[in-house]
């Protein structure tokens, strides 16, 4: 029988030809593949479209040249974050065999920031990572509530009739507290009924009487020993019951403390109801800390959102530690699935840029004209493997006109936990964007000014300050304004009156500073906004309207008190009554148990002393 052959040796040559053809096609398409791959990966990272005109991969020289790179600003899809004419990168070839990208140096030419795009750079579906960060930042921004600021309606009669008990949280909370008190009371009733210490107390008291009347001569030593033994058993059972009652006492005190905490919460709820009722009347606050957020809060959120977005992205893509990391790959025909990277001590990171430099020169005679240098070092997907923090610097190396007051210094230390990020940026003498302030009925034209950001992050804790300042602002009225005669005739609280009052107040201000303080955690930082414009408006308001507003506020508070008073009183009485009942129902038996236990011990001791001839009770 002929031996069946397994291998088809004649196929080796055609197979080699096929593989060679495959390699040739790959080499021919390498530039295009690199271009597509870079576009897809960068779009995934940024969360907005990244376009590349051309990629030129030179494996033998270990270089990649990218031309016409446009990176869309995720917040403004018609604007590029930056655009680079040419990027030349020195590439290490061997890491490519591990599907890793290691760039020794990168030089960027023709770098421009904030250029306009011809088409929108928004992506239909963002990468899960960038979408998650964007969602978090948007949720934070949406949850922020700035007090409204409007002077219209001041002249109207204060109508507090619109307030209903259902709209006040104190009423609902007080009702819930009363129900909670009832539930706790019935629970305790059941517990105390099942415990019922009275029979034990009565039996112990009867034993005390029996011990006092005991005739030692008639009982004899054996009878005395039996009586003492029975007394000790009773003392033990009284002691056990006493411990159970004591633990119930602890639980009762804890329940009462919880109810008292809820009672204290009613005060906070009442304060919130005051604020709610006040907001229905649209009374302006006279406090500068309230007015500044009302005027500049939305603008401040607009400034801070990109900062939080990029901090979040840095957290996503530059995580500390060597744990496996997962991400959803992009650009696959089949289901994308999850790609997991497994960093290993001593190995290369998946992506590493050791040193990158970009120089740019802004021409013209503007104050921003000059030469700039941007340097990045240690940009890597696995900071713990690289072992050094990421540093990003922009500085003005030569100013053609004006002060060289521009500098950005970013340090992201994700080598170990907790991560430490620091951002220091100062942009002086730049053209600041106009701010529309509808509540003032004015547009603020800042001209040249200064923006500075100082931010520190350690772990989840965040502290930062963003200052926006211009010393030569001009104001533009958004409404039509009213004539001299109309102004005199305008009623306090009318639209015309409010518009004129605010315009008179702000139009004289030349030096404007807005300071935004960030604090708290990265996921939900608190925002405080302060501005000298808020101070000025508050002072003017106090001067003109202080007494009128205070009176209206008093009426609002009185109305809230009237609506919530009954509910709060019932809740307070319920808690007080329950506290008294529990103290009595538990404290009484507890005292009786302690008393009878001590009496029993005393009687046993006395019995011992009465025994003749040194007989000891065992």
């Amino acid at each position: 029988m002929a031996r069946r052959r397994v291998f088809r040796w004649r196929a080796i040559v055609p197979l080699l030809v096929f593989l060679t053809l495959l390699v040739l096609v790959w080499l021919l398409l390498l530039d295009r593949l690199a271009e597509r791959g870079i576009e897809a990966a960068a779009t995934h990272l940024v969360g907005a479209r990244v376009d590349l005109a051309e990629a030129d991969v030179r494996l033998r020289q270990g270089a990649v040249i990218l031309r016409g790179l446009e990176v869309t600003n995720p917040d403004e899809p018609m604007t590029n974050l930056f655009e680079a004419e040419e990027i030349v990168a020195d590439l290490r070839v061997l890491p490519l065999l591990e599907q890793k990208l290691a760039l020794d140096t990168v030089a960027v030419r023709g770098l421009e920031f904030g250029t306009e795009r011809e088409t929108s750079g928004a992506v239909v579906e963002r990468s899960p990572e960038s979408a998650r960060v964007a969602r978090q930042v948007s949720a934070w921004a949406d949850a922020l509530r700035f007090p409204s600021f409007s002077l219209e309606g001041l002249g109207q009669a204060v109508d507090v009739g619109a307030l209903s008990p259902e709209s006040l949280q104190t009423v609902a909370r007080a009702e819930a507290l009363v129900e909670q008190v009832d539930a706790v009371r019935s629970g305790w009733d059941r517990t105390l009924r099942s415990l019922d210490p009275q029979p034990t107390i009565d039996s112990a008291r009867a034993l005390v009487t029996q011990l006092r009347q005991a005739d030692l001569g008639r009982l004899g030593p054996v009878g005395v020993a039996r009586l003492v033994s029975s007394t000790r058993t009773t003392i033990n059972s009284v002691g056990e019951l006493q411990q159970r009652v004591e633990s119930l006492d602890d639980m009762a005190r804890s329940d009462v403390a919880e109810l008292q905490g809820a009672l204290r919460g009613l005060s906070a709820a009442r304060e919130a109801d005051y604020a709610y009722a006040r907001s229905l009347l649209q009374l302006p606050s006279l406090e500068a800390p309230d007015i500044s957020p009302a005027l500049f809060g939305e603008a401040a959120v607009g400034w801070i959102k990109p900062v939080l977005y990029w901090l979040g992205m840095a957290e996503q893509f530059l995580p500390p530690g060597l744990q496996p990391r997962r991400f959803a790959p992009s650009g696959r025909t089949r289901r994308a699935g999850t790609t997991v990277t497994f960093p290993k001590e001593g190995e290369r990171p998946g992506f590493l840029l050791e040193h990158g430099e970009a120089s740019l020169e802004l021409g013209g005679e503007g104050i921003e004209a000059g030469r700039y240098l941007a340097v990045v070092s240690g940009l890597t997907s696995a900071p713990s493997l690289y072992g050094k923090p990421l540093r990003f610097l922009i500085e003005r190396t030569g100013a053609a006109v004006g002060p060289g007051d521009i500098g950005v210094d970013v340090l992201l230390d994700h080598v170990t936990t907790p991560v430490r990020d620091s951002v220091q940026a100062r942009l002086g003498g730049i053209e600041l964007s106009a701010l529309e302030l509808p509540s003032l009925g004015a547009r603020l034209l800042p001209g040249q000014g200064t923006m500075s950001l100082s931010l520190e992050r350690v772990g989840d804790a965040l502290a930062g300050r963003w200052v926006w300042r211009s010393a030569r602002v001009t104001w533009e009225r958004m409404g039509s304004g009213s004539g001299e005669g109309e102004r005199e005739a305008a009623q306090v609280g009318s639209g015309a009156w409010a518009e004129d009052f605010l315009w008179r107040t702000v139009s004289a201000i030349r030096d404007v500073e807005v300071a935004v303080e960030l604090s708290g955690t990265v996921d939900g930082p608190s925002l405080a906004v302060r501005s000298n414009v808020g101070d000025a408006v508050a002072q003017s308001l106090r001067r003109e309207l202080g007494r009128e507003i205070a009176r209206a506020e008093e009426r609002v508070r009185a109305q809230v008190d009237a609506l919530v008073g009954d509910g709060v009183a019932r809740a307070r009485a319920g808690v007080r009554e329950l506290q008294g009942t529990l103290l009595e129902d538990i404290g009484g038996p507890l005292g009786a148990l302690e008393g009878v236990r001590q009496e029993l011990e005393r009687e046993v001791e006395r019995l011992g002393r009465r025994l003749p001839g040194g007989i000891r009770i065992p």
Partner: protein
């Protein structure tokens, strides 16, 4: 063009020599790897090499490939789950994945992707059942269906056409 056709013809001639049910079934089982797992994966180069070098039916492999493509797409959610469980939940396997991920060339196989890994494992599990089912199917087809089919008028017409002559080039 003619040179390319001749090259193709010579390659196919070199590959055509066996056609037992076992060879066709083995071809189908190997070809299924190309359809069940993402095509542009490094392991599929090995599968192609195996189809070429082992005496299995090349048309069978092509049939297995084409038949498995829709199955691959349909089973992707399952592959994703299986691969995800192996990559992320199976802690004892983590050193193996870490080693593979940091090994030159091996990491190019994309085994760190849940769909690639899950589909490859899925194919490995299904390869033997596919082989057995295909062998039984081919035997039954040759014994019962094929003699009747060749008598059909439409088949006779097709077999007399030039298209069929071209097909014969690829028959084992």
């Amino acid at each position: 063009m003619l040179a390319l056709l001749k090259l193709l013809q010579s390659m196919v001639r070199a590959l055509h020599s066996e056609g037992t049910p076992e060879q066709v079934a083995a071809g189908i089982a190997l070809g299924a790897a190309l359809g069940l797992t993402p095509l542009m994966s490094l392991h599929n180069l090995l599968v192609v090499a195996a189809i070429a070098l082992l005496r299995v039916s090349v048309p069978g492999a092509i049939l297995g490939w084409l038949a498995a493509i829709p199955a691959g797409f349909l089973l992707d959610p399952l592959f994703d789950t299986v691969g995800g469980a192996l990559l992320l939940d199976a802690r004892p396997l983590e050193p193996a994945w870490t080693g593979a991920y940091n090994t030159p060339v091996v990491s190019l196989a994309h085994f760190n992707n849940s769909v690639v890994l899950g589909s490859l494992v899925g194919w490995m599990v299904l390869a033997a059942p596919i082989y057995l089912a295909a062998r039984w199917g081919v035997s039954r087809y040759r014994a019962t269906v094929h003699p009747r089919v060749v008598q059909w008028r439409v088949v006779k017409t097709v077999r007399a056409s030039k298209l069929y002559n071209l097909y014969r080039l690829f028959r084992p």
